[in-house]
Amino acid sequence: MLFSRNQEQKLILKAKKDPEAFASLYNFYFPKIFRFTAYRVGGLENTEDIVADIFEKAFKNLNKFQWQKNATFASWLFRIARNTIIDFYKKKKVVIDLNNLPEIKSHEILASDQVKRQELFRQLQKLVSSLPARQAEIVSLRFFGERKNKEIAAILQISEKTVASNLCRGLRRLHEKYKEVQ
């Protein structure tokens, strides 16, 4: 289900008092936050821990959220996600368990074998992580968080132009690296 700006505004106001409204927001944003986190972190367990942390923080601070012109709920939530991931990397040296990766949804252009799809994810995640931090964040937010350039600009507090140029540069670099690996 996709919310319009007005619907989401109403839902957030409601969610501050009504738990069912919060559940709607949770169900809508959970897959996006999970995918974004998975590409930024890698391992399944670490991803799950961080995602749980992100939603707990969002839930506890929902009353502090103020809807503004450039601060949508999505940008607020993804900023929490971004900061939580940064904290995670600061706290410990991350070890990605290659035997414990998230499952990849089947798709017509991907291999039908789940293991092969997981292998592709491992490869892509590694490539994304090898990008400069800003480009990796922008690519992850655009492709896995499904955020528009304008929202990414609000999340990272940079201009939309910077987002666009970093996205293009990042994708080209990723493609080059991907060709090398293949």
Partner: protein, 183 residues
């Protein structure tokens, strides 16, 4: 299709991400790569999403219990009284508030007594029918001996709390006393 510049690439990505099915361009190798990147979507274990949802829901129950449990009216009233006792009552039951309340009661009683003219000694004397000379009032308790020795006592007027009594003393003189019946 060739991607000449960034804008074209951005437009192609926009188109790709908005496409409902997988019918996006794959001819160009860069876009082909983008489409693979977009398709490789990691999924959470359904149990995890459910478990986290339940955990958040429990926390919400803790924070907003009233939103979850529809309590019967009687329970609500009991709960309201208990809440009043625990929160509001201690605030009211301070020495300052109690002394203020006591002062208010005393002032109100005095004001009421003052406004009740028919109870005042002078009013009682006026309406008693006693002669001008006799309208001389003494506090009752100072005339106990005379009262005992008096041959004749006549109640001139009686009220709930007071009575006006005319005493004829042994030497024939008369006094009118205002007596408090309640004492």
């Amino acid at each position: 299709m060739s991607i000449a510049n960034d804008q074209n690439l951005l437009n192609a990505i926009e188109k790709m991400l908005n496409a409902k099915s997988g019918d996006y361009l794959q001819n160009n190798s860069l876009l082909g790569f983008c489409s693979r990147l977009m398709a490789a979507k990691p999924q959470a274990r359904p149990k995890f999403q459910e478990k986290l949802g339940r955990k958040l829901s429990r926390e919400q129950r803790f924070l907003f219990p009233a939103l979850y449990v529809k309590q019967p009216a009687a329970f609500n009233l009991r709960e309201k009284i208990a809440r009043f006792r625990l929160t509001l009552l201690p605030r009211f039951l301070t020495w300052r508030n109690l002394s203020m309340a006591a002062s208010f009661v005393i002032i109100a009683t005095l004001a009421l007594n003052k406004s009740n003219n028919y109870l005042s000694p002078s009013k009682l004397a006026e309406t008693s029918g006693a002669s001008r000379e006799q309208k001389f009032l003494f506090p009752t308790n100072t005339f106990t001996i005379e009262k005992i020795q008096s041959q004749n006592a006549r109640v001139l007027k009686k009220d709930q709390a007071f009575q006006l009594v005319e005493y004829t003393l042994f030497d024939g003189s008369k006094i009118i006393a205002l007596e408090n019946i309640l004492l």
